[in-house]
């Protein structure tokens, strides 16, 4: 469906050759839904078997068996980033929390995983989104480690693409991105995630290329 993308912690896995899934242990699948195709997604969901909407978290669909994992639907407005903004797109069937920062995402690769074409954002834009998103606690740490997972899959030119996108942001957002990278550099290692301690030099080099905001 046009513009729908997988945007969560599973992306580094999907970018590995053959979707090897060695980088990050994902707890759910995050799907970014452009508001323009919300109706079409809603219709398609009526045919999905094995998932049902969660009552307490109505934008989350939970599995009815252990063979599936949770699907988390997020609203986005492509090409119109409003960093740090969020609002609720109300709908009786598929309400969405719309994250303004998701607007930075651009379409990227579409790997074929066992016959299923999976639309992904460009890795530069996804790293940018995760480095601009303020979260707290465990989710914050996990998202930063997902950035590292993305960096580990970067092709030549991806880091340059991030720097180009970063250079035109507001100073507060550029500062936020750096603050989050420094936090990533100092994170303790955790099971099922890339080891920040093993890649601190690489993170340091990216910080150096970015320079400081004074």
């Amino acid at each position: 469906m046009s513009g729908v993308m997988v945007v969560g912690s599973e992306v580094p896995n999907l970018l590995e050759p053959g979707g090897a899934s060695t980088l990050v242990v994902s707890q759910d699948v995050d799907l970014a839904i452009p508001l323009a195709v919300h109706d079409a997604v809603k219709r398609a969901l009526r045919d999905v078997k094995g998932l049902r909407r969660s009552d307490p978290e109505p934008s989350v669909w939970i599995p009815e068996s252990d063979a599936l994992i949770e699907a988390n639907f997020l609203g986005m407005e492509p090409g119109a980033p409003r960093i740090g903004e969020a609002f609720v797109f109300e709908d009786a069937e598929l309400p969405l929390l719309v994250f303004g920062t998701l607007g930075v995402l651009e379409p990227g690769l579409r790997p074929d995983i066992e016959g299923v074409v999976v639309p992904l954002p460009s890795t530069a834009s996804l790293a940018l989104e995760k480095l601009l998103t303020d979260r707290s606690g465990d989710k914050y740490d996990r998202d930063l480690l997902v950035v590292l997972g993305i960096m580990l899959t970067w092709a030549p030119g991806d880091e340059d693409a991030l720097l180009l996108r970063e250079a035109v942001l507001d100073p507060v957002d550029r500062w936020t991105l750096r603050a989050n990278l420094t936090a990533l550099s100092l994170l303790p290692d955790r099971v099922g995630m890339p080891e920040a301690s093993a890649h601190r030099a690489r993170i340091g080099m990216l910080l150096e290329r970015l320079g400081r905001i004074v």
Binding site: R53, V88, A92
Partner: protein, 119 residues
């Protein structure tokens, strides 16, 4: 179906962004010290605790304690040294490079930079 959980999360996102904007505005004031210290640590490949006497020797040799460490309480006297200098330097213990109590309360430390340091 209640949408309250979604509205609550939306408010939390906006609230965190407001806090971030405030932190940015104060980045060169007291609150900015923590990020400045994180920058210094992110640029360091290793950290070692040293004694006050060794710190004095470093200062006699021209090293200057990093400003941001001196702005916290208790002060952290942190000196940048080259990897080649480290071999000659008596250290107390190697520290994990992290913003944790062990490092922040170490009193006197040396930081060894990655070859390409953060600007």
């Amino acid at each position: 179906m209640s949408l309250e959980s979604l509205h609550r999360r939306a408010r939390a996102v906006r609230s965190r962004h407001l806090v971030r904007q405030r932190e940015f505005a104060q980045r060169n004031l007291a609150g900015g010290v923590w990020l400045a210290l994180r920058y210094e640590l992110a640029a360091a490949q290793a950290a070692f605790q040293i004694t006050e006497d060794v710190a004095r020797q470093l200062e006699h040799a021209g090293h200057v304690a990093l400003e941001h460490g001196l702005r916290i309480d208790p002060p952290l006297h942190a000196y940048e040294v080259a990897e080649s200098e480290l071999a000659e330097l008596p250290t107390v213990a190697q520290l994990t490079v992290r913003m944790d109590p062990t490092l922040l309360r170490a009193g006197y430390i040396v930081l060894v930079r990655f070859p390409q340091r953060v600007a």
